[in-house]
Amino acid sequence: MKRYVKLVNFEFNRIAKVYAVLLGIILTSQIIGVMITANGYLKKADKAMNEDMMSKAEFLQMYGQMDFHNIAYSIWFIGPIALSVAAVAFYIFLIWYRDWFGKNTFAYRLLTLPTARLNVFFAKLTTIVLMTFGFIAFQFIIYPIESTVMKWMVPKDFRIDLTFHELTQQMLDLGLLYPTEPMLFLLHYGIGIIAVTILFTVILFERSFRWKGIIFGVIYSAVAGIVIFLPLILQEFLLNGYFYPSELIRLSMLAGVIVLAGSIALSGYLLNKKIRI
């Protein structure tokens, strides 16, 4: 356990600089997004009221008040979120391959540490989870700041203030990343963690058997996918809708846990018995 925590800390420190830069990009880009969008809105209002001689009421009637949705759909806001998602997706692979490639084969060290090799696996998994949850938490934390910037710029009568909860409730795409309720958060990210674990297993297959491992990995992913979707498949084709949706989700969760346990067990086996430097 102590060595696991040390390993997590070590793995996280390895990516910390890049991570900090990404957080910086998110904050800067989103604040720029707030300013540009608010400015655009104010210019439009200025033009409408001073050049086209609209009254305030007429302008609001026509264009509506400004709220954070105007900002949230801009590339300045979504862009860095997409970048973070891509970064995590990429690092899922890099977190393993960076220890094998190049002249400095750090894998030698990691695999000869006096601790269970699965701890290395868990530390890498935890690092991916920390990065992901960190991004989510960071967005929650910086939103009030961004909201305040909008408040400074746009007068009260021209804006509607939304909480982040109110914002994501209406946005399906962001709602996927920041589900509005705890149960959905657990479901979405539970699926995410299971997927990462499967990918890790595939990577370990590849590291153990090289190109043949890729084939094993693909087969394993397919089997894992079938197990996870088994309740759904049975429900649809054999059981004629026997289960209520809530039961079906619970069964799928159980299947997910089975796949998770299977992936971990298999990864442990590969790390201990099959891995090649």
Binding site: K6, K103, N104, R109, L111, T112, L113, P114
Partner: protein
């Protein structure tokens, strides 16, 4: 004692190691000798469970390898096993974090002995100093066995001398060492035991002292017989 018994290793359908057996005792330096590609590194990787074997057993003090074994035996590969962006000091901290057997005092002795600077980053070191730092990470562990893969390859003469001196020092004393090299000259006088590998099998395994007394031959003589005869 490290015992390698009837080890078989295949790459695909090709047997690269076939029925390899030898032992390495504590307090002795055992040298694996063979031309490049004969499987010396593979043997070391197998002892450290860094590559699966297709047959045979490897025992360390009578036990199969497990996570605790890594407090007992260490491996010094031909390239440094620390992150290149780390400072030597940070690498030492890493080792001390994870290994109970890390001996900080000895590590500091070696820093002095090799004239290394703790604040240097590993990726800025010369080849020789990288090899020394690599050696430091392994030898500063209070382990019973040290596996060294080609410690002299591609290193300048002075570093080579310094490293060779390590073998006669207290850093090695009482430990069991398995070393691979194809430049036998530097350490010929230090070796207690030689294991000659050829075509994936052990051609001959002998005590260097006995051979000299009984047959009046040196390792190099035997090597000539094997590889040129």
């Amino acid at each position: 004692m490290i015992e390698v018994k009837n080890m078989v290793k295949k790459f695909g359908f090709k047997k690269v190691l076939d029925d390899v057996s030898f032992t390495a005792e504590k307090g002795q330096i055992t040298c694996l000798i063979g031309v490049n590609g004969v499987g010396k590194t593979t043997i070391m990787n197998a002892i450290m469970n860094l590559t699966p074997i297709n047959g045979g057993d490897i025992l360390i003090d009578g036990q199969k390898l497990n996570k605790h074994t890594y407090e007992k035996v260490t491996f010094i590969p031909d390239a440094i096993t620390m992150l290149p962006q780390m400072k030597i000091g940070e690498a030492m901290e890493f080792m001390s974090d994870f290994y109970d057997s890390w001996n900080e005092a000895r590590a500091n002795d070696m820093i002095d002995f090799f004239r290394l600077n703790k604040n240097d980053r590993i990726n800025t070191l010369s080849k020789g100093n990288t090899a020394k730092a690599n050696l430091l990470m392994g030898l500063a562990l209070d382990v019973d066995y040290v596996l060294m893969d080609e410690p002299f390859s591609g290193i300048d003469m002075f570093s080579r001398e310094q490293i060779a001196n390590v073998f006669t020092s207290h850093l090695i004393e009482d430990r069991g060492v398995i070393i691979t090299t194809h430049e036998i000259q530097d350490i010929e006088h230090l070796i207690d035991k030689a294991v000659l590998l050829d075509n994936g099998t052990v051609y001959r395994s002998f005590d260097v002292e006995e051979l000299r007394e009984n047959e009046g031959k040196s390792i190099v003589d035997v090597m000539r017989e094997v590889y040129q005869g």
